[in-house]
Symmetry: C2
Subunit: 216 residues, 2 copies
DNA sequence: TAATAAATTTAGACAAACCTAAATATTTAT
DNA sequence: ATAAATATTTAGGTTTGTCTAAATTTATTA
């Protein structure tokens, strides 16, 4: 078994790997709220366990073994988030911290039964895909709202930013998972966007449009 | 907040306090699977935080603050055990280890909602009372089967031993929570007991009778 | 391409929670 | 009441995961 700290490093490396092939020490330090020297120590330890490929100064990638562990933690995190929202009626902006603790509950039998109990959900409350018990999952083909043209429409299927302030803002505007929106206009001055959604018109900043993900 | 180790010490002191007013260093070392010297270190730390009353060589008691924390952990443990059995269909002998991890999930809001989700259960799968959100709970008036006379009857409401081997044995014999039993006879030689339960007759050892709890 | 800046690693410490071995208190038994 | 046995604490280490400060490597830029 791995320690809590090791699990958090593997998870962070996995997340950062989605953007960059090689993950740097400083990226990890920033994400994990720690110092670069602490990261170096841990990278040596994870490399000794052959969970990562580590070349000093060159950053890291996960090995197959490391990725398997990371995906399993993400599976647990997302299933617990789903549980908290669907069964315990938490809001989508309230569950992240709790799931950060719950993802480390070790039993796989438990998580598989939880999965079954909730009828094998495919996406968590933020639209992120939930890996199945073999670690497999499908990504939607998602684009930020900011990437689409005037007069095209799409369905909200995810968010890039998971902060509660962003999620609360979206909730208040009714911009939640599954809603159909159309881009009516783009303001030239600041590239903010005018959206149509269920008879209502609303305006969102470029910043918001960049972080709101849709399928066409 | 308290560390995981601190929480486990407080919980253990609480459990041991039910039998002995003052809890000794060695009792804690045995229960926590650690060494007496390690216990001494932790007792000093908990005393500094005024969670226990500690006089060197004289053992410890919980302060009101310490007891509150201990009872809250026990509340969480028992609610999660109930969840695992009632919602995820685990058997009563399978849930202890998982609940040992889950009891440390910090959110009280989470546990209160879980409590509500399950409709405020009063007893866990082993018959132990679940403290409410104010830490209050009622004990059944329980006696071991070994303490009752021939031709008296009672309802199984708890177990003294929580080991999975004991629980599995009881399960196999059908001696589960809620079952009504009558003591038909006591064998003089080894004081084993002949029980009547739902048309069946079965014999249990003194050892089993000591660990099976009933209400009259 | 040499100097500077930025990123990373190394060296040496620290706190938490544990350990062993030795010292000290308390309890039990003769 | 004292010797022996038992329980507990103290002293000094270890490991994990963190830190700061200094050294080193890589990247940038003039």
């Amino acid at each position: 078994m791995n320690t809590l700290a090791e699990e958090n490093y593997l998870k962070s490396i996995y997340h950062l790997s989605l953007n960059d092939e090689n993950v740097s020490t400083n990226q990890l330090a920033a994400l994990l709220n720690t110092k670069a020297s602490s990261v170096t120590d841990m990278l040596k330890k994870l490399a000794d366990k052959t969970l990562i490929n580590y070349t000093p100064y060159q950053g890291v990638t996960l090995t197959a073994a490391g990725e398997k562990i990371a995906v399993n933690i993400i599976r647990k995190h997302r299933l617990w988030e789903f549980f908290l929202v669907e069964k315990l009626s938490f809001k989508w902006d309230e569950v992240h911290e709790m799931a950060e603790e719950m993802e480390h509950i070790s039993s796989n039998e438990l998580i598989d039964r939880l999965d079954k109990f909730m009828d094998y959900p495919k996406y968590d409350p933020h639209g992120d895909p939930i890996p199945d018990s073999d670690g497999k999952f499908k990504l939607h083909d998602l684009k930020p709202v900011s990437a689409i043209e005037v007069n095209t429409c799409g369905v909200i299927c995810g968010v890039r930013d998971h902060s509660s302030s962003f999620l609360q803002y979206l909730e208040k505007q009714g911009l939640t998972i599954g809603k159909k929106i159309t881009v009516n206009d783009i303001i030239e001055f600041d590239r903010s966007m005018i959206l149509q959604m269920e008879n209502k018109t609303l305006q969102i900043s470029r910043e918001v449009a960049n972080n709101l993900l849709i399928t066409i």
